[in-house]
């Protein structure tokens, strides 16, 4: 996809790095791919993510608890209420889908007969 031009453009800010880039890009890319594929990288990113999730967990749970308490006191639906409602709606959709399928099945012979006639 890449089509490189040989014309030197002295005022293009990327031009200054172009020759250096073309020479080193492949090597740099391979090096980075090797780096992210090491166990040390996996360990480091895994540990960082784990540390952040563990340290932010109690704060997040406290906010959630407080929010649920506030909404309940205000007689407002909570996140859990919405989830439960959404689940019920999906169940209704599934029942309607089953009914539609049964209707389609029972109407098929009628449709075929009408086509023949």
């Amino acid at each position: 996809m890449s089509e490189k031009t040989d014309t030197f453009k002295p005022f293009d800010p990327t031009e200054m790095f172009k020759s250096m880039r073309d020479t080193n890009m492949d090597a740099w890319s391979k090096m980075m791919i090797q780096l992210v594929n090491t166990d040390a990288y996996s360990e480091a990113t895994g540990t960082m993510l784990d540390t952040w999730l563990t340290s932010s967990g109690p704060f997040r749970k406290a906010v959630e608890k407080a929010m649920t308490q506030v909404l309940t006191n205000l007689s407002m639906p909570t996140r859990a209420d919405f989830f439960s409602l959404a689940e019920r709606l999906t169940n209704i959709e599934m029942r309607l889908d089953d009914l539609e399928a049964k209707l389609d099945q029972s109407l098929r012979p009628v449709g075929k007969a009408a086509t023949k006639a």
Binding site: S2, K4, R21, W28, G46, L53, A101
Partner: protein
Amino acid sequence: MTATETGNPTMPNVYEELLKIAGNSQTFQRLMLTDAKIAQTPKKLIWTLNKAKLFRYEPVAPEDKRRRIPLLMVFAIMNRPHVLDLRPGHSFTEYMLKFGYDLYLLDWGTPGPEDSALKFDDYALEYLPRVTRKIKSVTGSDKFSMLGWCLGALISTLYASLRPNDGLKNLILLTAPLDFSDKTSSGFSRWTSNPAFDPDKIIDAFGNVPGEMVDYGAKALKPVENFIGTYLNLWDNINNPKVVESWHAMNTWVRDVIPMPGGAYRQLINEFYKQNRLMEGKLALRGEPVDLAKLTASVLTVTADVDHITPPCQSAGAVERMGSKDKEIFRVHGGHIGIMAGSGAEKTTWPHIERWLAARDT
């Protein structure tokens, strides 16, 4: 010889260069921040369930040249399926319609927080059976073909193994992540097999895995190409309309990230990546054991030889275990997305899929 011919800047030349750079910068910015028109092939919505939608593409081939068996396309759950119909003139959907296929697209939609419990069990045993039932009802055909890509291929394989008598005749698997026995085969396998990587904590924190997080993970596998190379390539070719149009369409699709349901993510990491349950014969969905030997449809597996997301070994090993008598592995030179959306796809992958399906359209 003038200064311009030798490439030395003169004052008018400098001014022109600066103007050109300013214009290119504006184009660059526009391409980065705006959406190209993708997924333009006309289609009709024929079924919905929760966020999932099933579309039927409007046929373009004359009646007498249409194929008999409908084809359902199932894409991954953490990206939009528009890459199958990227842009007019370069679209797999358009290509297959020209050959007379009755084409259906399952769009899983964007999961909300209320969908965080969705698992592969639901996709394979609740959604897909309903979708195929609808297709059979619409077409009047008892048989159908299915094309799954990436996690869409995993879901299709699970469905095909669990419901072999539903009428699935032909199964095309594109870069299917099925066999995770080699923990060093890809960056994802390495990262997720590390004990410090705990998907449960991610799900507890987010509910659904944010699209940006999944996107970052995929891009970080090839950081130089994805974070720098792609933009340099655009800048180098900013005055080439063909390259710009193609880049813009692909970037529009790449930017459109969606969250991945927490339940499915947890299952993917724990049961597939870490424990390799499908290949170990220990996977059960809603209590039903998944046995690849029960998969009887004809199978075409397409692997990409430089796929950094799903390396070929994650697809090839599983094919041997499938019960089908008619199996083929087609190896394509390219990356995870490039084999279907790259500029060479029209000459390699698409014709092969079409010919393979045409030979089995009975």
